[in-house]
Every structure is written in structure tokens, then in C-alpha cells.
């Protein structure tokens, strides 16, 4: 659905040239939620704005929904939706007004635009507020209006730039449900986020971006597995005895009050650990499974923690 090759963009500022995006290759498949994870300033938004025809790439190529981005940006615009990070409504206009206009700007007739607006307001649970001014909406409502505006023309691909930034946890969960619903309706969704949990919970596949380049790509679970595997921490009174009993595992670390095992898949390792300790007669205190987070992935790939940003 989206394919890019060597996409580049630099900006000239007073202090010299900044390479914001330096050669991004990525493939997004139809019907998936694809996430761009990275700290602020990593080049996520710049990449997104290039793909959304708002900014001309300095180099590289891209095709979106079967159309070449550089050759025919006009046709790309018909096939994509874009929801900017900072919102897209004036305080004094109403959701209904904006949605009807937005649909009509895509060439939809007046009656069809009204019908679509009614449907979309209903599906985003905005019908009750549709005639009120946008400034009276809550943060979550206003963001839902932004997304409704981005998909009123039923695009094949929708780009969401940091869709949950600034939302409270409940609105955030609600927004995730909306995004999943759009995917289930057949849309391809490309989101950027700097929240680890969001990338983990929402995205089918992610690319981790840092300093203008992609440093890792894959499903969240594959990425975590690839990087560090799982950690099983076994709390015991006699760690040395436990370590001896668990010598069948490849990586065993001895600590004061525990033994740590680094394994591929913690869930299947736990029964084996218990059985091994049992048959060796070592009394087991506690056992816990620590799954690596995407932050561990980021740390391994870039040498920095995402949380520090």
C-alpha cells in the first residue's frame, strides 16, 4: 500500500543544513496499522508530511495506494487522508459544517456529503455535539472530529500524526478502538507515536526511527524477541544450587538472592524451570517473567533510552 525507497529531506536553517530524513525505506501492507516510533525530532512527522504531499522530498521515491508520489501528488491526495498533530478545526466552526465542506472538497455532491457526515458523526459518537462550536469540545472529541475529517472521503490510506498526544488515558483507549475499527473496515493506517505502549498495543508492525533513519522494523513482539528475549527471574534461598540445577539453560546469571535466565520465550521456559528445580530438590521462592519493552529495543539499537527524551 505504501512503499518508499531512499526518501530524503534536509532543511536549511540559520545554523546550517539539517538532514531531517536520511534515506527511509519502508513497506506498509494493505489493511495494517503501521507505526512509526521514535523520539521527538527523529524525522517521523517530516516523513509523514512528505508522504501526505505536504512537502516535496529532496530525493528518493515513494508510491502510495498504487500512485507515484512524485509523479502524481494530485492523485495521491484523492487516495489518502491526513490528520495533523496540531488539530484541524477553527474554534468557532462546527463539526457538521467542517465535515460537509471537507467531503465536498473531494468532489462529493451536497446530498451525499450530508449523508456521509451523518454516518461518520454517528460512528464517531459525535452526533450530539455536531452543531456546537468546536471550542466547546473535549480534547478527545475534537481529536475524533479531526480523524473524521481525515477519512470522510473514504481513503485507502490514512496518516495519523501522534493521534493520542495530549489525551487523557480514557480518551486514548477510545482512540485506539477507533483506529482498530478503521483498520477492520479495510483502511490502511500509518501512525506516528513516541509512546512505547501505544506502538506495542496498537500497531501490527512498527519501524523505529531515530535521527532521520529507520533503525529497526518488524512486529512489536518480533522486535522485542529479536533484541533481548525474555528474562525469567527465579527467587530462591540458595541461588548457587538453583543455578546448578538450571545449568541446562544457555544463559544463567547468578545473583545474591536469585537466578536470572535469558530465554527465547519465557512462557514456555517457566514450566521447565519449575520442573528442573523440583527434581533437583531446590525450594522455589518466587518466579517472575520480565518481557522486554520496546524501550529495550530502542536502547539496543541506538544506545539511548527513549524515555530519556
Amino acid at each position: 500500500m505504501i512503499k518508499t525507497l531512499g526518501l530524503r529531506k534536509s532543511f536549511t536553517t540559520r545554523h546550517g543544513t539539517v538532514d531531517a530524513v536520511r534515506g527511509v525505506d519502508l513497506t506498509v501492507d494493505e489493511g495494517e496499522i503501521f507505526g512509526f516510533l521514535g523520539p521527538n525530532g527523529a524525522g517521523k512527522t517530516t516523513t509523514l508530511r512528505m508522504l501526505a504531499t505536504l512537502m516535496k522530498p529532496d530525493g528518493g521515491e515513494a508510491s502510495i495506494a498504487g500512485v507515484d508520489l512524485l509523479q502524481d501528488p494530485g492523485e495521491v491526495r484523492r487516495r489518502i487522508g491526513y490528520v495533523a498533530q496540531g488539530g484541524s478545526t477553527l474554534d468557532d466552526s462546527t463539526a457538521h459544517e467542517e465535515l460537509v465542506l471537507q467531503a465536498r472538497l473531494y468532489g462529493v455532491s451536497k446530498s451525499e456529503a450530508r449523508a456521509r457526515t451523518a454516518r461518520i458523526l454517528d460512528s464517531f459518537q459525535l452526533t450530539d455535539y455536531a452543531e456546537r462550536k468546536c471550542k466547546t469540545y473535549s480534547g478527545g472529541q475534537r481529536r475524533r472530529v479531526d480523524i473524521a475529517l481525515g477519512i470522510i472521503h473514504e481513503p485507502k490510506v490514512v496518516f495519523l500524526d501522534e493521534p493520542t498526544t495530549g489525551l487523557d488515558p480514557q480518551s486514548r483507549a477510545h482512540m485506539w478502538d477507533e483506529v482498530r475499527r478503521l483498520r477492520d473496515e479495510g483502511m490502511t493506517i500509518f501512525i506516528t507515536t513516541h509512546y512505547l505502549d501505544e506502538a506495542d498495543a496498537l500497531c501490527d508492525r512498527i519501524s523505529i526511527m531515530d535521527n532521520g533513519a529507520i533503525v529497526a522494523s518488524g512486529t512489536p513482539s518480533a522486535l522485542k524477541k529479536e533484541i533481548s528475549g525474555d528474562v525469567v527471574r527465579v527467587g530462591v534461598a540458595l541461588p548457587a544450587a538453583a543455578a546448578a540445577a538450571l545449568s541446562g539453560f544457555s544463559r544463567v546469571e547468578l545473583h545474591d538472592d536469585s537466578v536470572r535466565l535469558y530465554v527465547e520465550d519465557g512462557a514456555t521456559a517457566i514450566p521447565l524451570v519449575i520442573r528442573a528445580l523440583d527434581s533437583a530438590g531446590v525450594a522455589l521462592g518466587t518466579i517472575e517473567l520480565h518481557r522486554p519493552s520496546l524501550d529495550d529495543v530502542f536502547l539496543t539499537k541506538t544506545g539511548r533510552s527513549l524515555r530519556e527524551n
Binding site: R49, A52, T53, L54, G74, Y82, A84, D92, L105, Y106
Partner: protein, 249 residues
């Protein structure tokens, strides 16, 4: 393109009507000029009747309104930029020219509404003007307004901040105003000042509108003013539409 322009125009006009105070605010200052400044004119200009004084003063007032009304429209665009409305429009296949023209024509329509109110008030002060001439004068005002609002939108897109737009527009507007003979005809000016004013396109426009209000349809100032304003309006619209098309940030 026409359909897009009409859609943007309608939407913008609706936004304007939500806040009907604009028409009162827009008319208040010119009415103050009519009531408090115009009475000085009869003796100052050495004319015989009120009607004559108004023939000279009302055209200047209307042109003034068109220039200033247009030049300050950029502020609305900056708040739209900030709210993300412009960026959202840019991702749609809407014509870039329509994004500008829909807005500028809205400004022109609201200016003409104000011009009609002021003309009607001036009629109460004995001003008399042929309807055909009046319509031509309104065409001139429409071209001025189209130009100045396009310039204002273009500058707003370029500077993207109210803090930069306000001083810039004021700096442009003041010499334009003084060199256009809007408040007093430049026939009273010394030669060197008239020479400079000849380079000010708005002084041609003011002369044209004055000729029309005088009933002098055949005066060269009429077609000269209209031609100059039409060319400048076209240039301003083309320039600002290009800025709408260019991706920013």
C-alpha cells in the same frame, strides 16, 4: 476550480455571518469620517455645496476602506494556519487558486456591502451619482479589495505571525494612503508630490472613482484606473495562489 472557489467562498462567508458585528465595526469608522471630517471640506476645498464636497470625499473614503479592509484580512488566515485548517485543505485535491480566491472574494463581497451602506448614508448628505457610474466605481473597489486582500494573504502565508504582519501592513499602508490623494485631492499638492503620487497606482484608482462620482464617465482616469487595478489584482492573486500551493514549514 469554480466549484471549489464557490465552496470556499460560501464557507468563509458563513463564518463571517456568525459574527455580524463586523459590519458595524467596518462601517463605524467611515461613518465617523462622514459625520465629523466631511463638514470641514466645504470651506477647505473652497466648493459651493455639500454635494460637491461629498463627490470628492466619498470616493476617497471608499477606496481607503477597500485598501485597509483588504490589507488586514491576513490576520484571519494566520489563525486558520495555526488551527491547521490550511494544512488540512492542502491535503485535499482542492484547487490552490480556489483556496485564495474563495477567501478574497468573500472579502470583496463584505467590502461592497459596506460600500453600499456608506453610499446610502452619503445620499442623505445630498450626494448624487448615476447608478451606472456607481456600479463602475464599485467594480474599481472590488478590484482594489481583491488585490489588497490577496497581498495580505500572501504576506500572511510568508510571515506566518501576527506580530510580523501588523507592522508590515501598516508600513505599506501609510505612504500608500498619503500618496493617493484619498483624504484631499492631490490637485492641491506641490509638483514634486504629484510626481511621486503618479507612481502610486491607488492615486489612479482614486482619480477614476472621483471622475465617476462627478459624472465624468469619459475621463481617461476611469479606464486607466480600472486597467491598472485589474492588472495589479491579477498579479496579486497569481502570486498569493502560488504561496498557497507551495508547501510550507
Amino acid at each position: 476550480m469554480l466549484r471549489d472557489t464557490w465552496l470556499i467562498f460560501q464557507h468563509q462567508f458563513k463564518a463571517l455571518l456568525r459574527n455580524p458585528v463586523w459590519i458595524l465595526v467596518g462601517v463605524f469608522q467611515p461613518v465617523m469620517y462622514l459625520l465629523l471630517f466631511a463638514p470641514l471640506l466645504k470651506p477647505a476645498l473652497g466648493v459651493q455645496t455639500n454635494a460637491e464636497a461629498y463627490e470628492i470625499f466619498v470616493p476617497g473614503l471608499l477606496v481607503l476602506l477597500a485598501i485597509f479592509g483588504g490589507l488586514f484580512q491576513g490576520f484571519g488566515l494566520i489563525s486558520e494556519l495555526r488551527a491547521g485548517v490550511i494544512e488540512r485543505s492542502r491535503v485535499t485535491p482542492v484547487s490552490r487558486l480556489a483556496l485564495l480566491l474563495g477567501r478574497s472574494l468573500r472579502d470583496t463581497a463584505s467590502l461592497l456591502a459596506q460600500a453600499v451602506i456608506i453610499t446610502l448614508l452619503a445620499l442623505a448628505f445630498d450626494l448624487r451619482v448615476f447608478i451606472g457610474n456607481l456600479l463602475l466605481a464599485y467594480l474599481m473597489l472590488a478590484l482594489i479589495s481583491l488585490m489588497t486582500s490577496a497581498v495580505s494573504y500572501g504576506v500572511a502565508l510568508a510571515v506566518k505571525s501576527e506580530d510580523a504582519l501588523a507592522p508590515l501592513m501598516n508600513t505599506v499602508a501609510q505612504p500608500v494612503l498619503l500618496l493617493s490623494g484619498i483624504l484631499l485631492p492631490l490637485t492641491y499638492a506641490p509638483g514634486w508630490l504629484q510626481g511621486i503620487a503618479d507612481w502610486n497606482p491607488f492615486s489612479w484608482a482614486v482619480n477614476g472613482v472621483r471622475a465617476l462620482f462627478r459624472g465624468d464617465l469619459g475621463a481617461p482616469a476611469v479606464w486607466q484606473g480600472l486597467a491598472i487595478m485589474a492588472v495589479l489584482a491579477a498579479l496579486a492573486v497569481a502570486w498569493a495562489a502560488r504561496l498557497f500551493a507551495r508547501s510550507i514549514r
